[in-house]
Amino acid sequence: MSLTACGGGDGGGDSKTVRVTLVNHVWTENIKKALPEFEKQSGLKVDVTQLGEDQLSDQYNVKLNAGADDLDVMMYRPLQEGKLFGKNKYLADLSEKAKADSAFEVGDFQAGPMQATTYEDKIVGLPIITEQEVLYYRKDLLTKSGFTAPPKTLDELKAQAAKVEADNPGVAGFVARTGKAAAVTQFSSFLFSFGGDFVDSSGKATVNTEQAKQAYAYYGGLLRDHGPENISTDMSWSEAMAIFTQGKAAFYTEANSLYKNATDPTKSKVVDTVGFAPFPAGPAGSKPYNIPSWALGVNDSSENKDNAWKFIQWAAGKEQSLAQQTAGVPGARTSVWANPASTATLPKDLAEANAASTANGVGHDRPLVVKVAQAREIVGQPIVDAITGKDAAASADTANAAFQKFLDDEAK
């Protein structure tokens, strides 16, 4: 239904208002500041709805299921919802528009992230934010315990965490996410570095291989033995980050995109003492994830697709990508990464850690399936079992059987 003929209302057609749904993120804050510039250039009005991650996901679920056309541009998680949205045909095919614009240069996007936003050979989204897992640590505590450098291997991480904890009563050696589903993404780098993965090349579940069992035991054991004293099994990044930024933990493994929480004096007590290092190497080397965490797509039911594309052209374009990366949000454009100015404002050690993670990174941090939330709960169970002192190996066997059944059901 179009209201354009009745005077260009907000209802659809080629409305001059583009309705954009964005998640709470530093990227969003930056883009909102730049919006007047776009509105002036394009003559369009941008109507932003900003939501928390869970609420954003729920809103898409309700609106897209109902075939609502009042969403034009959608910020979404390619690895979490990409397959589901692709399968349900919720995302418009942007291939033609993206390839037609030489200035936009779709070939400039890194191959891995582009693959995650392509469904059945059609470009359905453009990656705007990438994330790599890095090690956050406290320089002062390491120096106090006699360490001159952050750990390079997972064995060193465990040893340093134990020593720092012993030297500083009330401070945990290590903190990380502990929630069953929330922890999966950060645990993935441990899994890869031990030589494991969620599935093998033939699509079989592999969360009970020897490597996976070692990774579960290591991650859960480190949190159990050297984590915060009253550890919960519900922590997502906000709780774990709060413990680290309150000065109550020495080491923390997390996405680099959240670094500002640790370096912002209004949020962190450890601004002057926080350091960043590449993800420590396990038996299979240092293999952190390097993933496209957020992308922009167009709702297939939108009647304002042309203007929605104009917004994406600008927001995911070279200029904005450089501005975002300079402001500390890693993007997916090769040309921007090649530009030294894009990382000049980052702390030096974080820029080095990012570069190392980008070079060694694995392109996923969760099982690449349609029902990702359900899969995360299954493969995350051994993590919480290990943290609570249960038999992680037995739990991994149980999880593997459940995960294989899940994969079989999804393949039907």
Partner: protein, 317 residues
Amino acid sequence: MSAVRTPRTDSPEAPAAPLDTTSAWSRWANHHRKWLFAAPAMAFVAVLIIFPVAWTGYLSLTDAEGSVRAESEFIGVQNYLDVLTDTDRFWPAVWRTVLFTGVVLFFEVVLGMAIALLLWRPFRGEKWVRVAILLPLVATPVAVGMMWRLIFDPNIGMANQLLGWIGIGPQPWLAGQHSALPTTMFIDIWQWTPMVVLILLAGLTSLSDEPQEAARIDGASSWQRFRHVTLPLLMPTVIVAILLRGIDALKTFDILYATKGRGGGSFHEVETLNVYAYGLSFDYNDYGVSSTVLIIFFLIIIGVMWALTYRKKGLGR
């Protein structure tokens, strides 16, 4: 309801003519006015209650997943068989729902009664005490959940700091696998006892004083007066409070979601039927199974409501 009224003819200024000129439509409307007046409300109920329930009932008989717009197959009662034999998530969720409702209802009614009795008779500063008691009621449950989540944080929360000052070691509160459900019950009791106080206080103030005075003259003690006079007279109000709070407690969602997140925690330790159905829809996109759980839940609520209203009628006789 009377039929069409005959116009008054006792006044010379009031002719009988209007009756004759009344159109057929007006006469019909007059005859069916009870339906006409009720029609908007009935349409509202049909659109907002009957249709969603019927649609949910239909979905529960299909294998709808991924998207409700995608093609789904009619699979009869298969979902019901699957759900009713699921001892991993469904039955534990039923048990938690019953336990949560039973415990919070018991404490809310007992505490609510005690506080209402204290506030019944006038005293100095009564107005301020009433305002203070009603404060938790005006807060949004999600905000209440988030506030208590901070207070009960095992590492940086205020609750453990307070315990530390009096020499008690830190407790896991919401973080513990076995302490999470009792902690959420506590939060619910904290927030909703004032509502019970409000209802019971309204009931108490409407009671007549004579039976109390008669009992007092007969030498009945305070407890005897409460047990044999006040409580029986107040029983219909108590049942109303139980009915309202019971249904609310059965479908509690906000507090559980705000404190333990999706799935009711890593071990589903506070996953009630509502939280489970939400997860099935919004996390798993299993609309068929989710609808089945909701229909079963709906039947449970109707059963409880029926039992309570039946009991209330019995008391009214």
